[in-house]
């Protein structure tokens, strides 16, 4: 089928290249241009002068970061919420998947899975609305419950000390069911003969979980854990912005919401872009470190 005289490679495959080109341009424009636009972290960016006209100021904004108490406040909030999520939110779907996997009644399993996945499909505005309603001091079901137990009603959304727990708990509530899917898929791949053999050897259910199930899940767990660690400073904007109000900033403001509020709304473009850069570099270093550690200890890694 080769044409008599070979046309140049690009010309022969022009159709394929023309398919890739728009997508490639998209990634270069909307991902790479903003990345290079991070250069404004080294400028005193002025909206009228633009990236090319604004004066360079070296590391000034980064030095500012480390002298501003506000920065450390936000860093502390971000890290604390992230670590709580890691400690409670990360194992939760693993446990739930183990429990769901033990259900033998198929109809029960299907119905509970359908219900457990549901919150994942709701926007954070709706879920945040539910949370605010649920915790409301006047009409909230949770306060009704507290009162029934004999406690005082609490203004949850006005007291900074609760906001981190609210963020972590509502995150688990929304995503725990959905996050079981990946573990259930891994569990379905375990050869049942292992369990039969263990049974013959007299291993109880708990022993089987420890010796067969968890090792089988380990690669999945490690990959997800590594990805999570690389994003330890990204908590996602939508959830937290929905749950925050000015009363809760002290304990609840995280990098993503801070960059929006102070950077975009407040016009401090250079300073907050320096924060974004700090975030990316820290995330990258953590990802590389964790990947290396995991490769050495468990043999699992991202690449």
């Amino acid at each position: 089928m080769a044409p008599p005289k070979k046309k140049p490679y690009l010309l022969r495959h022009w159709a394929i290249y023309s398919m890739i080109l728009p997508g490639l341009l998209y990634f270069l424009t909307f991902k790479y241009i903003p990345l290079t636009g991070s250069i404004i972290a080294f400028q005193d960016y002025n909206i009228f002068k633009g990236v090319f006209g604004s004066p360079y100021v070296g590391w000034k904004h980064f030095e500012n970061l480390f002298t501003l108490p506000e920065f450390f406040q936000v860093l502390r909030n971000t890290l604390l919420i992230s670590l709580y999520q890691l400690a409670f939110g990360f194992p939760a779907p693993i446990l739930l998947a183990l429990l769901l996997n033990e259900v033998r009644k198929l109809a029960f399993k299907r119905i509970s899975q359908t219900v457990l996945y549901l919150p994942h499909f709701m926007s954070w505005v709706i879920v945040g609305g539910l949370v605010i309603n649920f915790l409301s001091p006047t009409i909230g079901l949770f306060n009704d419950f507290l009162e029934w137990l004999g406690f005082e009603r609490i203004f949850f959304m006005q007291e900074p000390k609760f906001i981190r727990s609210i963020i972590v708990t509502s995150g688990i509530w929304k995503e725990v069911g959905w996050n079981t899917i990946i573990y259930l898929a891994a569990l379905a791949g375990i050869n049942p003969e292992y369990y039969e053999a263990a049974e013959v050897d007299g291993a109880g259910k708990f022993r089987q979980v420890v010796s067969i199930t968890l090792p089988a899940l380990l690669p999945t767990i490690m990959v997800l854990l590594l990805l999570r660690i690389g994003h330890i400073l990204d908590l996602g904007f939508e959830q937290i912005y929905m749950l925050l109000n000015p009363l809760l900033w002290d304990n609840g403001e995280v990098f993503d919401t801070y960059i929006y509020r102070v950077g975009l709304l407040g016009g401090q473009y250079s300073y907050t872009t320096a924060i974004d850069m700090f975030k990316a570099v820290v995330g990258f270093i953590l990802l590389m470190g964790a990947n290396r550690l995991s490769k050495k200890t468990t043999g699992n890694s991202l690449y």
Binding site: V51, F108, F121, G129, W178, D276
Partner: protein, 285 residues
């Protein structure tokens, strides 16, 4: 069954039932509240059954032209956005699924890099501004045209299509576009619909982009409007509380329901697709 085993099984069923109820309870409470009178809500008499049944809350919400406008904006973004997503994603994925293509792995690397280093917020905003997309629905569509994650899933799906099929089409003289349109895409309908649904739910639920790029109230998507109502207690909307039957809380609850119902209606049909898509994604890491 051993007694300890039996105890575990009983515990397991009870626990999962309670957890499922915990997922439903907040929705049921809001649903009940949205049909209840203002005084009944504020006196805390509503649990999961409507008290002093009324449609007043819904009348107030649905009687507000702002809600309808936002609805249309959201539908427009979802439809146009998903169409753009699917076109761009399948074109690029199909191209990149060709092994023999020169420079293929370099391009894949360029894409993967963006997953580790996502575009920072402020420079993205400045770019959208420079492109003149601020206050236009395109700002909610174009900057998210392709999800790298969905693209990777799609590439592996296209790889699974037997090469003989596309090869024979080529021998019959079909061009690449014709082959993609007439042979590959029809075979890929299951994964196209799954990925399309992922994109569509993403558009329907997103509000961060609109918050950043849209200042014109006429173009607010539903989620932004709802957020203003729930968090900022948007005065203009709540002013519609004009009789004793309604209350601010009742209106808020009805608004939540109005934004929830479209998703609830399609949920039974799309859930299966999503689970499949999530597993497909998980296998590829």
């Amino acid at each position: 069954m051993q007694p300890s085993r039996r105890a575990f099984v009983v515990f397991n069923y009870i626990f999962l039932t309670l957890l499922s109820l915990a997922m439903l309870l907040p929705f049921l409470h809001i649903l009940a509240g949205s049909f209840s009178s203002g005084p009944a809500i504020t006196q805390g008499r509503v649990s999961i059954v409507p008290v002093e049944f009324t449609l007043g809350n819904f009348q107030a919400v649905l009687g507000d032209p702002k809600i309808w406008r936002s609805f249309w904006v959201t539908i427009l973004i979802t439809v146009v956005g998903t169409a753009v997503n699917l076109t761009a994603t399948s074109l690029m994925s199909y191209g990149l699924s060709k092994h023999e293509l020169k420079g293929r792995s370099a391009i894949v690397l360029i894409v993967l890099f963006t997953m580790i280093f996502p575009a920072p917020m402020i420079p993205s905003y400045l770019l959208v501004k420079e492109l003149g997309l601020l206050n236009s629905v395109w700002s909610l569509v174009v900057p998210g045209a392709i999800s790298a994650f969905n693209m990777i899933i799609m590439i592996s799906f296209f790889r699974g299509i037997p090469e003989g099929l596309t090869e024979s089409a080529r021998i019959d003289g079909a061009g690449e576009y014709y082959t993609l349109w007439k042979i590959v895409l029809p075979l890929s309908l299951p994964s196209l619909s799954t990925i399309g649904l992922f994109y569509a739910v993403g558009h329907w639920n997103s509000y961060a982009q609109a918050l950043m790029y849209i200042r014109n109230q006429e173009l607010f998507p539903l989620q932004v409007l709802l957020r203003r109502l729930l968090v900022d207690s948007d005065e203009q909307m709540l002013i519609r509380v004009n009789n004793a039957v309604q209350s601010v809380e009742g209106i808020k609850m009805a608004s939540i329901m109005v934004a929830t119902i479209p998703i609830l209606l399609v949920y039974p049909f799309i859930q299966k697709h999503f689970v499949k898509g999530a597993m497909l994604g998980s296998i590829k890491g």
